[in-house]
Structures are given as structure tokens and as C-alpha cells.
Symmetry: C2
Subunit: 186 residues, 2 copies
């Protein structure tokens, strides 16, 4: 249960590079924003050296990413699991079953919502945090959800997941629609 065996020297280097050019800034600029010497940053991105927490923290802040994105390895669009589909776990002696919809991304932050909406109204969400992922399970009613380019229709028990960093929508198709929404941002 435990532990991460490998000291993440290389992981940090990779994460640092990745996040930096995602932000589209130069090494020099990042060093300036983080208030650290660019020589230090250079070495870190080269995979040598073992930064102090303060240093790495400053970089996390400057990059606008949660600290631990820099230290833990990376992760993984659009899937639908219809009610009754998906890997099922059955109890042998009870009327009970559970379906695994999404295995935990190791270090994602996930917020759980209940969402209610009525037909006619369309909620269009502007893209948020890059690499954020949304999960929806419809509890009652019907709804159309997903990225604008790939809308799907869901009924009770249906599950869908898609990237939150593109424009997407929620639209009820029946009165009394409500759903459980899990927003996962890295």
C-alpha cells in the first residue's frame, strides 16, 4: 500500500520542463518569477540535483500548479459507460452490484457535485484548468453532455467522462434531471 520506491529525481526534471513549456515561458523568466537562480533551475531541469522543498515550492507557485504535480508522475479524453455496462462487481449473496467507472488518477484533485437542471436550459462551460477531467453519472432524467464536438445523450445510470479543458455543455432533456458530477483537476 504504500510506497513509491523510486526517488523522483528524473520525474521532477521532466515535470519541470513539461510544465514550463506548457506555460510557454523561458527558463530565465521562470527563474525570475520563482525568485530562484536560473542556474539552479537549469540544473534541476537537467535532472541533476535534489532541490529543497522551498525551491520546488516556489517553482510550483510560479508555474501555477499544485506542488505535487512536480513530483509525482503524469496521467491520462471521452468515454461512456452505459447503465449496466462496464466491469461489474457482484456480491454473491446479496442483491448488490457496483460498477467501476473510473480508476483513480493517482494525484488528481476531485470535487464531487450534485447537479440539477431543467430542460430548455443549456449550461455551456468555458474550458477550465488544462488536463481537468469531468465525470458525470445521471441519476434521474436524461441529459446531453460532453465536449461541443462530441455530445452524448445519457439516461439514468449512464456514465460519461470527458476532458474539461475544451468547451463543453450540460443540457437536460427531461424534467427533474439530476446527476452526480465529479470534477477532477490535476
Amino acid at each position: 500500500m504504500a510506497a513509491d520506491p523510486a526517488p523522483p529525481l528524473a520525474t521532477i526534471a521532466a515535470a519541470l520542463r513539461r510544465e514550463r513549456d506548457r506555460a510557454g515561458i523561458s527558463l530565465t523568466e521562470l527563474a525570475r518569477r520563482a525568485g530562484i537562480a536560473k542556474s539552479t533551475l537549469s540544473q534541476l531541469e537537467s535532472g541533476v540535483g535534489n532541490p529543497s522543498v522551498e525551491t520546488l515550492w516556489a517553482l510550483g507557485v510560479a508555474l501555477g500548479v499544485p506542488f505535487s504535480r512536480l513530483v509525482e508522475p503524469p496521467t491520462a479524453a471521452v468515454r461512456v459507460i452505459r447503465a449496466g455496462e462496464g466491469p461489474r462487481i457482484r456480491s454473491e449473496h446479496a442483491d448488490f452490484s457496483a460498477t467501476l467507472l473510473a480508476a483513480g488518477a493517482p494525484h488528481a484533485r476531485r470535487d464531487v457535485y450534485v447537479m440539477e437542471l431543467e430542460p430548455g436550459a443549456v449550461r455551456v462551460a468555458e474550458p477550465h484548468t488544462p488536463r481537468s477531467v469531468e465525470h458525470v453519472v445521471v441519476a434521474a432524467g436524461r441529459m446531453r453532455v460532453g465536449p461541443e464536438s462530441d455530445l452524448v445523450e445519457l439516461g439514468p445510470g449512464d456514465y460519461a467522462t470527458f476532458s474539461g479543458d475544451a468547451p463543453h455543455r450540460y443540457e437536460a432533456l427531461a424534467p427533474g434531471t439530476f446527476a452526480v458530477l465529479v470534477m477532477e483537476h490535476p
Copy 2:
């Protein structure tokens, strides 16, 4: 979207102490397991000093906790949010509302399930991973859930969360009951 303003010098100290005596081992012992000098550990728990990533990592491994539990602030316990309660986000121009049920624990792994069960059957779950947390939102029907010591009854839209490291149960009270279950383990 960003950032954690406060450098976590003190957070680390606190987390270190907390996790260590949760493990029930002495400072000396922990230092030995982690392969660091006990003097170093002593200072870290005192809140002075700014550990290197390698050092902190070694401590994380020795304690059997995911690295970032040591650097991010702690979290919470057993709560019920009834349908319609809780902080609500309303759209001003649509029949839409969302309720935040659980703010993301920074680095929890969360698995999302849909669970169906019929009355008469009781699913009793043996405790799993320490510090694991379960979230349930009932989609349809009624169910009784929670730790054996504190069962609560939920209807459609109701939400409950509780610790998964104590014996707990799921029990349907009405036919056609199904729920969304989020299991979060650190």
C-alpha cells in the same frame, strides 16, 4: 488557478509529527528506517530547515504515506448533505444548479462507482485502507449507509461521506435503489 501561497515549512513539521506517531514509532526508529540522521529529522519536526526532496521522500516511504501528504495540509470526517442543502452554485439564466459536496483532497486517489442494490440485502464492508474516505450520492430509492456506529438514511439527491477504515454498510430500503459511490484512498 493556482497557487498555494504559503511555503509549507510548518506544515511539513506538523505532518511529520502527526504521521509518525500515527505509525507509533520513535523519532530514532523513523530516522533509521528512512536512512537519514535523526538529528535531521529532529530539526524537521521542530519546523526548522528546509528538507531536500530526497530526504522528504525517504520519510514518506518510511512512513508509508504518499509523499504529498507530508507537504499539503490535512483534511476531514463524516458528513451528510441532504438534497437541496449545501453550498449552491446557481446559474443566473438557466434552470441549473450544482452543489459542491466534497472539495478535493489534494492527493487522494478516487474511484467512481455506480452501485445498485435491492432491499433485504445488506452489504457490510470490512474496513479497508486507513484514511480512505467514501462518498455516496443516492440517485434513486432509499438506502442506509455509514459506519456501523453511525448509520444514516438517505434519499435521492442526498449525500454522505464517511471514513472507510471502520466497518460500514450499505443497505437498500427501497426497490431499484442505486447510487454513485466515490471511494477515495490516500
